[in-house]
């Protein structure tokens, strides 16, 4: 990685230089000390779960579910196979944090998963990596080979009688495989379609066995918590929002990229870190948590701090931490059209509201964008989105509906302008100017 050192970082700390992904570099940075600590100090699973609970670590995949609580749901005494699965199928538009974690710090994830395996009594884990950036999968396989050779995974780890083997599995690009139960189906070799819950994976997961699924970044946070204690991790952030979080910032900022900051950092500070708005233009809107999160207008966003509770209070979700920044040159109808196209394209087709509804939403927004909107379209859009949200097997239906509802809620006048005038409020040349690819940002 070639970036200035970030003093606040813990997951991405020390990654400046070459071959930071190699096991030697990782061990030099203190890697695998947490795994060694729990195996050598005789820490029990209960103690580890207690630490994780204390840390206020919340799932980094998007739902923000408390990790310690999730781990405690696992029937750890279940005598047969149990699995720990890492969700690295990072497909949410705007999200690219796990990509950098796996690219530059794969052993951190391996160590976190091994600890999780120890806690849950699993002897086997899988890391499901999306297939779009295939080099990540290849690099992770290399890291697994290194860890296996060094005895950090495999049989009798560190001579302490703990067996845990870890395997990489790659997808082929279906967004839906990032949904945890579709991911399990995919690992099982089936078509990636979500399962109806209950039963939840903790009781009926991979191959019908108890399974814990966490996001890449969640596992990556575990070693630091073990080494430094749950309270220290919690103290990095704010109550109920422990630790640091990696944000993937994209859009109209000067330095888009991956930023690890403590939870609770003001959005304004994050924007500052990103070099501010591109071309000094005015901020129009932000999608704070990946494409499925409701959009927030600039004024509301500027008052938010970057943590689960603040963003939620503002009416959106921190989600996966994908911050999509839009300036005044952005056409909101066109943006929504792009988002709706994505969900239309990625719906798995299993359940009715999403299979039929996402296409309907996209076609209506497409029509409005192309000057063929009708006055009652906006109400229909909102109503169709409501009929999808909360009625589907998985959250993809919600993800498709939230952007539609929030775009219309906050930017209704723009949609009305489109319907009435058959073209955009933002002149086309301004849009073009705004979406030019800038090359002058600092790191290049």
């Amino acid at each position: 990685m070639n970036a200035p050192e970030n003093p606040q970082a813990i997951l991405l700390a020390g990654l400046d230089g070459d071959n930071t992904w190699g096991i030697e570099h990782y061990i030099k940075r203190g890697g695998y000390s947490a795994l060694r600590k729990i195996l050598e100090s005789g820490m029990t699973a209960d103690q580890i779960i207690a630490e994780v609970k204390k840390s206020d670590l919340r799932g980094r995949g998007g739902a923000g579910f408390p990790t310690g609580l999730k781990w405690s749901f696992m029937p750890r005494q279940f005598p047969m196979d149990k699995y720990v699965v890492c969700n690295s199928d990072e497909g949410e538009p705007g999200t690219f944090k796990d990509r950098d974690l796996l690219r530059y710090n794969p052993h951190l994830v391996i160590e976190g998963m091994a600890i999780a395996g120890f806690v849950m009594g699993c002897t086997r884990g899988y890391n499901y990596i999306h297939g779009e950036v295939f080099s990540l999968y290849q690099r992770f396989e290399e890291a697994l080979a290194e860890a296996r050779a060094a005895g950090f995974i495999g049989k009798n780890i560190l001579g302490k009688g703990f067996d845990f083997d870890l395997f990489a599995h790659h997808g082929w690009g279906a967004y839906i495989c990032g949904e945890e139960t579709a991911l399990l189906e995919s690992i099982e070799g089936k078509k990636g379609q979500p399962r109806f819950k209950p039963p939840f994976p903790a009781s009926h997961g991979l191959y019908g066995k108890p399974t814990t699924i966490n996001n890449t970044e969640t596992f990556a946070a575990i070693p630091w918590i073990i080494n430094n204690g749950g309270e220290a991790f919690q103290a990095l952030g704010k109550p109920n929002n422990g630790g640091t979080k990696i944000f993937s910032v994209s859009g109209h900022v000067n330095r888009p990229g991956v930023y690890e900051i403590p939870l609770g950092t003001p959005f304004a500070a994050l924007l500052e870190m990103c070099g501010g708005m591109r071309g000094g233009r005015k901020l129009k809107a932000v999608i704070p948590g990946g494409s499925s999160a409701p959009v927030l207008p600039a004024d509301i966003m500027m008052d938010c701090t970057m943590d689960y509770d603040s963003i939620s209070k503002a009416g959106s979700m921190l989600g996966s931490g994908a911050v999509i920044v839009m300036d005044e040159t952005t056409c909101m109808v066109k943006s929504l059209e792009r988002l709706s196209y994505f969900y239309h394209e990625e719906s798995c087709g299993q359940c009715t509201p999403c299979r039929e509804g996402t296409g309907w939403l996209y076609r209506m927004v497409h029509r409005i964008e192309h000057g063929q909107g009708r006055p009652d379209d906006l109400d229909t859009l909102d109503n169709v989105a409501s009929n999808i949200a909360g009625r589907t097997i998985c959250a993809l239906g919600d993800a498709a509906a939230f952007p539609v509802k929030s775009f219309i809620k906050h930017f209704r006048s723009e949609f009305e302008y489109h319907v009435e005038h058959k073209h955009c409020l933002v002149p086309v040349d301004v849009q073009r100017e705004g979406s030019r690819i800038y090359v002058e940002h600092a790191a290049c």
């Binding site: 719906s347 798995c348 009715t352 009625r391």
Partner: protein
């Protein structure tokens, strides 16, 4: 037990119940498409969304487990809004082409759209169009109508045991389709038509021929296998238009096989015999009934007078009704000879007089589902007994250990515990090995005759599964019944059953085999003796010995050599050996009774009027008896015949009449055989005179022309590796067939199906075939 309140009504349901289960118990209807009581829960249609107290959003009733104290509202605003929303989504891409859709009038989508759909659509965009698929001759597709409920997919995976349909692609582009270039070939495929809640999958033979509201629904019983499958026959203008299952959880559940469903086409075919005919000077002429009956009666009388009544015999199909068989037996006995038999495919009659009762399943069909272990010996299970196979498949899914000992390693589409596949001559040795293993497990002396058997691992595992606790059974199939040493195999199986404690049962040959035995339709000379003995007069009831007999060429020779052959059949058959054809009703045109393999007595009415001059066979026999001035033919109705024939029985044959125990029968011995042994099955759609004439079934994959099938090693050993077409020479004559390599055939064997004109000349169903390349 959990307490739940639905729409204000309280009830208790067992743990693990869903909201849908609870609503069903209360008799409340929650709208649904993908849910089906016999299939796994998919929860994908979302039509059954209901409001659950304290749940933030509506939940699908089909998949939501009941929790104690749960309160559910199925008609609250939240629930109705959700259901209406889903209905709108289902309809936006549906073509709404009800006027030209075959499902119209019996369509769940149509019905529910009345309740939950809007009168006009808000959807202004282009609708989806989906290409139709070719699923074969039975199922027609209109895939644009599909609502993706995946019932057909789950049926394949779970009930038929083979996933022939799947949902390919993603999102809006999702389509139900087969594997590329494949069709749906399961012998249970027609059930997908019933399951499809819309008009996406419809019946190819039926479509465009009637509307559902034009059809009368009448109950009957399937004549095609031993199970006693309950049917609903749908009729318009005195023609059978369609056959559907009649749900009977103890027999066929809610399924029927394709054979039961599509065989009706034969009943409307041009091959029907609709006028009595007699042959004069080598020419067939149509005559009235009076003439024909007088001719038949005089012919029989003349033979009796000239050659003695012992020279008269009757061969009846085992799917003739109980009434027909009873009167047939009366007729033969009245004439004096008394020879009647229905077991044309059997060659060993060594059990006659040795069995304590009528061979039967040994248990109720419903109890098959409760078995912990089962061994099926010598059966082409899927094709001979499609629904029994389905029942065993479901049992196997629940953990029943189903083992097989047989002459074909065909996939039964279920998890089998152990399988042993050997040549027919080695069946005895393998059964003896099971007996020996069971004796060893039980710690008793190995019975004499089984000591020298070699016990394989598989045999030991099977024996162990039959010795373990629980309900266990040994079922004997058609291969055993048609085996040249059927009695000896029975003796071994009986010993195995005695040692293990497993129930011994027969899967049964046909719809009324048990009934035939019960009313004395196997007396005097047996079928083989009749055909070997050069009788002077034969009466054939429904049967076609040129295809049905164990030794077809011999049968034809015997029939040709007779003075008179009276054929009673719904079809024009036996034209080259008969001299009198009497058109009698098939099962749909006569009242009658079948006694199924479990001893269940099921009577049925005629569902349509007899076609043309056709008359019910029991009436024809009654008139014949009267014309011949024989006593005991004074019946007013078929019910009166039945009541006399099955006196004392009420719904079931009395248990004392059903008994598979044989005494004084020696164990079969493995025989040393040189040459290629024939394995002969009766293919599912070549099994009786009706199905052979059903055009759609004749186009199915299971009706592919017969081939000589052998495994690659046997073909190589016979120098046939390169051969495409072969001459197969049997005991009587030879046939030219294509050679097919088939690794399900055991070594040293060649499988040549029976029931085909091409293979009938080969002679016996068992024995040695000589195969040479052409």
């Amino acid at each position: 037990m959990l307490e739940i309140e639905i729409d204000g009504q309280k009830l208790e349901v067992p743990d693990g119940s869903t909201v849908m289960d609870a609503a069903n118990r209360l008799g409340l209807h929650i709208p649904h498409f993908c849910y089906h009581k016999k299939l796994s829960i998919a929860a994908n249609c979302r039509m059954c969304l209901v409001q659950v107290e304290r749940a933030p959003k509506p939940l699908p009733a089909c998949a939501t487990p009941v929790t104690n104290g749960m309160k559910v509202q199925t008609h609250s605003d939240q629930a109705i809004t959700a259901q209406k929303g889903v209905m709108e989504f289902l309809l936006i891409n549906h073509p709404l082409d009800c006027p030209i859709c075959d499902q119209g009038g019996e369509c769940q989508l149509q019905d529910l759209a009345v309740g939950y759909g809007a009168s006009a659509s808000r959807y202004q965009e282009e609708k989806r169009v989906v290409m139709n698929k070719n699923l074969g001759p039975l199922i027609s597709t209109d895939m644009t109508r599909c609502i993706h409920c995946t019932r057909c997919v789950r049926f394949g995976q779970e009930i038929a045991g083979v996933m022939e349909l799947g949902m390919a692609n993603r999102g809006e582009h999702s389509e139900i389709m087969t594997f590329v270039g494949h069709t749906v070939d399961s012998e249970l495929s027609g059930n997908m038509i019933d399951l499809c809640p819309v008009g996406a999958l419809t019946s190819k033979p039926f479509r465009y021929s009637a509307r559902t509201w034009e059809l009368s629904r009448r109950k009957t019983v399937s004549p095609h296998d031993s199970l006693g499958t309950n049917l609903v026959v749908q009729v318009k203008h005195d023609e059978v238009k369609r056959v559907l299952p009649l749900e009977n959880e103890e027999v066929n559940e809610c399924w029927i096989s394709d054979r039961d469903r599509f065989s009706y086409e034969a009943l409307n075919s041009d091959d029907r015999l609709t006028t009595p005919m007699i042959k004069q000077d080598g020419k067939w002429i149509e005559v009235d009934w009076q003439t024909a009956l007088e001719y038949a009666a005089n012919s029989l009388k003349r033979v009796a007078d000239e050659h003695g009544a012992a020279k008269i015999g009757m061969l009846a199909a085992p799917y003739s009704t109980t009434e027909e068989l009873y009167l047939g037996a009366q007729l033969m006995r009245g004439l004096g000879g008394g020879s009647i038999d229905h077991r044309l495919r059997q060659t060993d009659f060594g059990l006659d007089g040795k069995l304590a009762g009528i061979p039967w399943l040994g248990m109720k069909v419903a109890d098959v589902s409760k078995l912990d272990a089962a061994l099926v010996v010598g059966s082409f299970l899927r094709k001979d007994h499609p629904l029994m196979a389905q029942r065993l498949r479901q049992a196997a899914r629940r953990g029943t250990r189903v083992s097989a000992l047989g002459v074909s390693n065909e996939d039964w589409l279920m998890t089998t515990f152990a399988r042993v596949t050997v040549a027919p001559s080695a069946l005895a040795g393998e059964l003896a090995a099971l007996v020996k293993a069971a004796a060893e497990i039980r710690g008793v002396a190995v019975p004499v005759g089984a000591e020298s058997a070699e016990v394989s691992d598989a045999a030991r595992r099977i024996a162990q599964s039959l010795c373990d606790d629980g309900a266990r059974a040994v079922f004997l199939g058609s291969v055993v019944q048609q085996h040249p040493d059927a009695a000896g195999l029975h003796a071994l199986a009986q010993e195995l059953s005695r040692l293990t404690g497993a129930t011994l049962g027969y899967l049964g040959e046909a719809a009324n085999s048990v009934g035939a035995a019960a009313v004395g339709a196997q007396s005097g000379l047996n079928a083989q003796q009749m055909l070997l003995g050069g009788l002077r007069a034969y009466v054939l009831l429904h049967t076609e010995p040129e295809l049905d007999a164990a030794n077809a060429p011999m049968a034809v020779e015997a029939l040709k050599g007779a003075d008179t052959v009276i054929v009673m059949s719904p079809f024009k058959t036996g034209l080259d050996y008969a001299d009198c054809l009497l058109p009698v009703s098939p099962f749909t045109e006569t009242s009658g009774t079948f006694v199924s393999v479990e001893g269940r007595i099921q009577s049925f009415h005629a569902v349509v009027r007899p076609k043309g001059e056709t008359r019910p066979a029991w009436k024809v026999l009654r008139v014949l008896g009267s014309m011949l001035e024989l006593g005991g033919f004074k019946f007013d109705s078929s019910e009166a015949v039945r009541d006399e024939a099955l006196a004392g029985a009420n719904g079931w044959l009395p248990e004392y009449k059903l008994d598979n125990t044989a005494s004084d029968v020696a164990f079969a011995r493995p025989s040393a055989v040189s040459g290629l042994q024939r394995i002969a099955d009766f293919p599912i759609y070549r099994n009786d005179a009706v199905v052979r004439r059903a055009p759609a079934l004749a186009a199915a994959r299971d009706s592919a022309a017969p081939t000589a099938r052998m495994n690659a090693a046997t073909a190589a050993a016979s120098g046939l590796t390169e051969a495409k077409r072969v001459r197969v020479r049997g005991s009587a004559w030879s046939s030219e067939l294509d050679l097919a390599l088939d690794d399900t055939v055991p070594a040293g064997c060649v499988r040549v199906s029976a029931g085909w004109p091409q293979t009938a000349p080969l002679g016996t169903l068992s024995g040695i075939l000589n195969v040479e390349a052409l």
